[in-house]
Symmetry: C2
Subunit: 553 residues, 2 copies
């Protein structure tokens, strides 16, 4: 039996029109670094978004489904692009300005971007790539910057260059938005793993809309038009965790940091603009803590801070609580999950100690994110806080595939998607009876020993608590009897006399006996990736190549 309800699509267009009209007085403030932030209302933002849509459509010939890229900081113009491009039926493609040149080039070509909106300050980064960008017809330069870097690009490989303000000036301030299907593409974002080509996730209008509703939900970030949110997390990083779209949906005021992401300017903008909410990865908060320890300022305006991207050290969370009077709230997600997967709002009726235990988990799933743990033998594990498995998720804002390229079928690599369509997150963890997720390892780093899993992260944590251990990285190595066993590689402090037997003994009371490593290696330093994480791939390869001296106990 069918319902008698209206069949109205969930679209970014609705978010744009609603925000500009009903929340027209809410504001977006962009930090400029010169003491005079740029301010505009949502109404003005809406009008400028309309003008941008006209410029892209009428002037640059952008049509339904065309990709329009942005290489931009968090600022008002980027918000205009966020709203205008999907609303006109085109696809917003946010480019990660931190990627190496070859990956950026590959991504632009794979998405077949026809236009790039680029902050003037980022032209030096983009200009050298232009000769390799075959599909880009137009460059729209936003804000000041040195355009002379473009002179080095051969004229036959140089797209047409436009200045943003000139391009949108004088265009009509109303737009007859197309009727969109909510399953059409609204935005795309590439994720670059450690192996293989980057993978593009294509968000739909529906997924953006539903995700925006959840971001603003009382049980998630809980934001309203009485709040001002500071998304430090870049708008090129999974849509700044959905904050810009949620802001226009619920009238949340925005404070945009532009390129001023260093601890000093961040402290300054928080002190002077008094946001009630902020969102960033742990590194940012670590930097801000150091800055404020050295030069104290009051940031208690921040009623809540969302922290994600990687696990937040409990010490950082404690320091924010105690030193700064600001509550960090853990969230988990990934490009493939839009990203809101979990958020660690502690439940009611718990003691302060219990509350703390909840806060350091990854958090609880909203109704739209269905979760299951797949154990070592492929079966679904119970939610008992003990049984570990790889986290798989399902829901209307979770990816089902990656973009295959123009005219190509979507990609569904089987290590990323289960046969019944769930996303394999590659994260291993446990879920408590009341639905709180704790991640313990990456699936590729977990040690599969005799049908059970050993967490490398867990062993490392215990080892690094030993006073003589500077660094410890545990990897899986092949074992004839158990399939895999842990190899513990450690870096000892200078002059330390501890031996492997003592370290094994040290671990003995802390993990199950069968998890204790037999294989030990002394390293000068643990190899690291470009972002400073342990590069376990390298350790595993060196072991396979016989380059490591292994002591067996």
């Amino acid at each position: 039996m069918l319902s008698t309800m209206q069949d109205v699509p969930l679209t970014v267009t609705r978010i744009l029109v609603h925000g500009a009209l009903v929340h027209g007085k809410s504001t977006v403030t962009t930090w400029t670094g010169d003491g005079e932030p740029h301010r505009q209302t949502f109404r003005e933002t809406g009008v400028r978004a309309v003008q941008l849509a006209h410029a892209l459509g009428d002037e640059l010939g952008i049509g339904r489904g065309d990709r329009v890229a942005t290489l931009m900081w968090n600022n008002a113009e980027h918000l205009e692009a966020y709203l205008a491009i999907p609303s006109m039926g085109a696809v917003l493609h946010t480019l990660n300005l931190r990627l190496p040149a070859d990956q950026l080039t590959w991504i632009v070509n794979h998405a077949a971007d026809r236009v790039i909106l680029v902050n003037g300050t980022l032209l030096p980064l983009l200009a050298p790539l232009l000769p390799q960008l075959g599909t880009v017809e137009h460059l729209v330069v936003v804000g000041a910057g040195d355009s002379s870097v473009l002179d080095a690009v051969p004229t036959d490989r140089r797209p047409q260059v436009h200045a943003y303000e000139e391009l949108i000036a004088g265009r009509p301030t109303t737009y007859d938005w197309p009727e969109l299907d909510e399953r059409e593409a609204a935005a795309m974002c590439y994720t670059s793993g450690t192996t293989g080509d980057p993978k593009g996730v294509v968000y739909s209008h529906r997924s953006v809309y539903l995700h925006s509703m959840q971001v603003a939900a009382a049980e998630s970030m809980g934001l309203t038009s009485h709040d001002t949110s500071l998304p430090v997390v870049p708008m090129f990083h999974v849509n700044a965790w959905g904050i810009p779209h949620a802001a226009f949906m619920a009238g949340i005021n925005l404070l945009m940091p532009d390129r001023f992401l260093q601890p000093g300017p961040l402290a300054e903008m928080i002190e002077s603009e008094r946001p009630t909410h902020a969102a960033a990865v742990p590194t940012i908060w670590q930097g801000l803590l150091a800055e404020l320890t050295e030069k104290p300022r009051d940031i208690t305006c921040l009623q809540q801070v969302t922290i994600g991207g990687s696990a937040c050290p409990p010490s950082l969370m404690k320091a924010f609580d105690e030193q700064l009077g600001v509550r960090l709230c853990h969230a988990w997600g990934m490009t493939e999950t839009s990203p809101l997967g979990t958020i660690a709002q502690p439940p009611a009726g718990v003691t302060p100690e219990e509350e703390w235990a909840y806060r350091i988990t990854q958090g609880r799933f909203p109704a739209s994110v269905e979760a299951r743990l797949i154990g070592p033998d492929g079966s679904v594990m119970p939610w008992d806080g003990v049984s570990a498995g790889e986290l798989e998720v399902r829901g209307p804002w979770i990816a089902a595939a990656y973009y295959g390229g123009a005219g190509e079928e979507p990609l569904r690599p089987e290590d990323k998607f289960s046969p019944d369509g769930w996303l394999r997150t590659g994260d291993v963890g446990v879920i408590s009876e009341d639905g709180f997720l704790t991640l313990t390892d990456r699936a590729k780093d977990v040690i599969k020993s005799g049908g059970e899993w050993i967490s490398s992260v867990d062993l490392e944590g215990h080892l690094m608590a030993h006073p003589d251990v500077v660094e410890a990285a545990v990897v899986a190595v092949p074992d004839a009897r158990w399939g895999e066993r842990p190899l513990a590689t450690v870096v000892l402090r200078e002059g330390a006399t501890t031996d492997f037997a003592a370290l094994r003994e040290f671990l003995a009371g802390k993990v199950a006996k069968w998890q204790l490593p037999e294989r030990w290696t002394l390293l000068e330093e643990v190899p690291k990736t470009s972002v400073g994480k342990f590069d376990k791939k390298v350790i595993r390869r060196r072991h396979a190549d016989g380059e490591l001296t292994v002591t067996t106990l």
Copy 2:
């Protein structure tokens, strides 16, 4: 270009599974009147909902699309029905126990309900109707009550009678829920206008899901698992404003009043169970205020109270603020809008006086409710706080039609739905530049004078502020020159010497000159409907029949 996101339907099934699993510790407490409320967790509620689904499917033969009615108070079993019936693919049909017997009969037959779940305490109301209910095969009696009233029903017209607890006892506690299309019917609710047959609105899984997300949104009721909500508004009245579904979605604890809706028991349950939120029509709060004035109790646990159904007198809102320290928050909606249409959360950055002015409006629209005002000449009116029009709305939880009956086409009466599919609310009002709706009249009561509208409610309000006027009702009467003009009918206090000219003079400074009534009638009493509202239909008819003595000034 299509997105690569998962195509996961938005269903009540997801709400049920999620609430029972992730918010399993949240509770639903049902008032019993004997000092010992009945308490059960969401986990227990989920298990019992599963058992109910098995009972309905396996035992009573209920299948996809079949209608299962409830004639119940707000209690835990009703919540189980709310979750189980749509999840199994059947349609929950909530019956309004306040309707006259003939309407109730008509509605059950029109919906072709196969089962009725009825509270034992309501059997005396249902029993006399049974001989006329041709489609009802099973009666499931919930809780205690005198079943002997069924003896009077002729055996050949008597459905099979089951006791709820016996029916669900021992059934399996897991269910292989069907894959549903989100546009399938989840629930239905009839609205009975003053003329014609009742009209059935059929909610979809999608509309219920999206509406639940909005109810719990920070900018709407802002509820989480730290809250306990007391829905005094009946679950047979537009799904208790969406609170039960939202509760299971976001883990909001529920306090269910069952049949104890009198001011005394309400005060008692608030005092002892300490809910943080409640929702009801103004009459309930008026009664509670009187109760608490006479016998003061502390109800400041209520951080927010949602009030809707009809406009809340500002004096009541003030009294709650000042006497009880509890904030009443105005909301507007109707059966056709699921019902959340607007909610009056004042904007940020306003003075206390401005805040007050915002609080007495109907409130602001969420992103999913698109609104327009259609003026006297059929054109769309601006949002300027002055230009009045009939409110029309569009959105994923707004009705597009009424249920036509089994196998019949949906009904789209043109006075209820515009040619382009928007719902005509029948309410006339203005919208401020920042999106706050103020309703001024019912469309059928507004006076269409020379292409402009005169608000009858506005004139009545001013007239009733005169010390000699006890009641005033203004209706439209035909006028050769202007189309319609207002007829002011007034009831004067005993011994009053005011004449019509003085009353007209009294109005003169308060409304535009062209709105001043020329026609005046003295009444002994304004005729009322069964619920005590002015019955303007009767006045118009008496005028048309020449029964009124009209003085023309």
